[in-house]
């Protein structure tokens, strides 16, 4: 019964055109960034950086490097946007449209309905993150020879990996990216359980994320970084570090699990108390 009802939620979610907005925009953004990277002086700049540090540019200017470079920025900016867009819609849009009232005339509990919706949102988040990884790689294949992975974030990260190690780290990073997408979706989902418009739920979730991001990046707050949600949301970045700090990874994962459970419990509590009227 639960799986059947989850299937209904997935039909509803993936039957809407706006659900695909994230996929489409990611694809367009990836193509644009990769083309600019390939056919401008940007790739030469990256090559210089590699050569200065004693690495062979031909081994590392690869689809993996290009996709990693592209997806870094998309994961920072666009992934929260589309995660929160879908998360904010899951409850609030149905409440606004009136279909929620149609469902809640049925003998299904509010908590169960929320759980179904949250799981559907989590599935969307995982698919979006993994597809981001797959398309990034596929788009780069015709333009770069296969090779190692070079991950670089100014002042934060400089790492090179041979092709096989680079591929699994890239795959694992996208798997962890789905935890980020799910958490942002869960945050917007919580706001969507309040009696507000879906757009307001999305904006509130994004505001929360951006505020965390701003606070985390104020130099005087550097010591407080682990207290901010965005610090833990970026755990996928850890997969490009060498060696991987597993304790930090475990800490972030368990905290994100806690955040998700808290967002869901708060959402369920608020939603459970609401009067649903036309």
């Amino acid at each position: 019964m639960f799986l059947n009802q989850l299937r209904y939620e997935l039909w509803k979610l993936f039957g809407k055109k706006r659900t695909y907005m994230g996929f489409a925009m990611f694809f367009v953004a990836q193509v644009v960034i990769l083309m600019v990277f390939r056919f401008s002086r940007a790739s030469r700049g990256m090559g210089d950086l590699l050569e200065t540090n004693g690495y062979d540019i031909t081994s590392f200017l690869s689809p993996l490097t290009a996709a990693c470079f592209t997806n870094f920025w998309l994961a920072y900016l666009l992934l929260p946007l589309y995660g929160s867009l879908v998360g904010g819609d899951l409850v609030a849009k149905e409440a606004e449209d009136g279909t929620l009232r149609m469902i809640l005339a049925r003998p299904v509990s509010r908590t169960r309905l929320l759980l179904l919706k949250w799981v559907a949102g989590a599935i969307f988040s995982v698919v979006l993150s993994l597809l981001l990884g797959v398309t990034g790689l596929l788009i780069g294949l015709p333009f770069f020879p296969w090779g190692g992975l070079f991950a670089f974030v100014p002042g934060e990260l400089f790492a090179v990996f041979p092709a096989d190690a680079g591929l699994w780290r890239y795959a694992a990073a996208h798997l962890l990216m789905s935890v980020k997408a799910t958490t942002v979706m869960g945050l917007a989902f919580f706001f969507g359980c309040l009696p507000i418009k879906p757009a307001a739920a999305t904006i509130m979730a994004l505001s929360f994320i951006f505020l965390n991001f701003i606070l985390m990046n104020i130099p005087w707050f550097a010591d407080l970084k682990p207290w901010f949600l965005t610090y833990h949301l970026n755990l996928w970045q850890q997969m490009y570090e060498s060696p991987i700090r597993w304790s930090r990874m475990g800490e972030s994962l368990s905290l994100l699990l806690g955040f998700n459970a808290t967002f869901f419990a708060l959402g369920a509590a608020v939603f459970g108390l609401r009067d649903l009227k036309s």
Partner: protein
């Protein structure tokens, strides 16, 4: 089938439903009548567990809705004013989804219901292309698929054109006669309730001002119409003699308990008052409703 006990709902300072007690019996077509804002939809919301009562109880069968919602609603279907659907999905898929939250749905059952509501052949079109009338039939289909015993209809004809209204009323009669459903119908349309229901409750500002059979309404309590010269003088004399206890409109009198119409006629003739016409009143629901509203006017 439905029992409401002292059901009350406050939204902040506003009292939306005030100690409502009523009973809908199995097999009834029960009309919940009242002006806009009288508390009909809030009452239905509480009955479906969508609105939390401030106090009181709502029972469907042997289950109290707040405590045992899933069991209470297991054999209940509901149709709302302006039913909402997933417009980007087909009618078939909409019904499959909505009814699927009650119990698993078979293709055969879906096909049967689409046939019954007259949407066969259109079920695989996206709902965005449906007319108002088709959407109303789709609403009925999603309510019927889980095989309910009780159907709750909240202003089911609102937004329909005259043809659609006629069709919906005919369908409501079929639901009762062919499927044997108990129906709770909320409406502010007096003619609709008069045509469809056997029992009614009238709400005014959240309070029940009448509950009973439609026959009771039509009997018109003990009002008698009287056409005579000098109506007011006649009433004064009859009241002084204890034959009449009230009057209204300059042409209606309320007889005292046990006084027959023939007794009033005899006395009027004895007093020398001409009687042009006299008879027991058969009130229309509209007249009855308006008289109730006069007794407890809206602010």
């Amino acid at each position: 089938m439905i029992r409401l006990k002292d059901l009350t709902k406050r939204f902040g300072q506003r009292l939306a439903v005030d100690s409502l007690t009523l009973e809908v019996r199995r097999g009834d077509v029960f009309g919940l009548l009242g002006h806009n804002g009288a508390g009909k939809s809030t009452t239905i919301g509480m009955l479906l567990g969508q609105v939390w009562p401030s106090s009181g109880e709502a029972w469907i069968g042997n289950h109290e809705v707040s405590r045992d919602r899933s069991k209470a609603l297991a054999r209940v279907g509901a149709i709302f004013e302006a039913p909402a659907f997933y417009d980007y999905l087909s009618g078939w898929r909409n019904v499959e989804i909505l009814a699927g939250y009650s119990s698993p749905v078979t293709r055969q059952r879906l096909a049967e219901v689409f046939e019954w509501v007259g949407l066969s052949g259109r079920e695989h079109q996206v709902v965005r292309t449906y007319s108002h009338g088709m959407r109303a039939r789709l609403a009925l289909a999603q309510a019927l698929v889980p095989d309910p015993e009780l159907l709750i209809l909240d202003e089911p004809t609102n937004g329909l054109d005259p043809e659609g209204i006629h069709e919906m009323r005919a369908t409501i009669r079929r639901l009762h006669s062919e499927l044997g459903l108990t129906l709770l119908l909320s409406s502010h349309l007096l003619t609709e309730v008069e045509q469809l229901c056997n029992r009614i409750a009238v709400l005014n500002r959240g309070r029940k001002v009448f509950e009973g059979g439609l026959e009771e309404v039509q009997r018109g309590q003990d009002w008698v119409f009287l056409e005579t010269d000098a109506f007011d003088l006649v009433v004064t004399r009859l009241m002084a003699e204890g034959l009449v206890v009230g009057s209204r409109d300059g042409r209606r009198i309320a007889l005292a308990s046990g006084v027959p119409v023939s007794g009033v006629v005899r006395r009027l003739v004895e007093l020398g008052h001409p009687v042009h016409a006299i008879g027991r009143e058969t009130l229309t629901l509209e007249e009855f409703y308006l008289s109730l509203m006069k007794e407890a006017p809206c602010s």
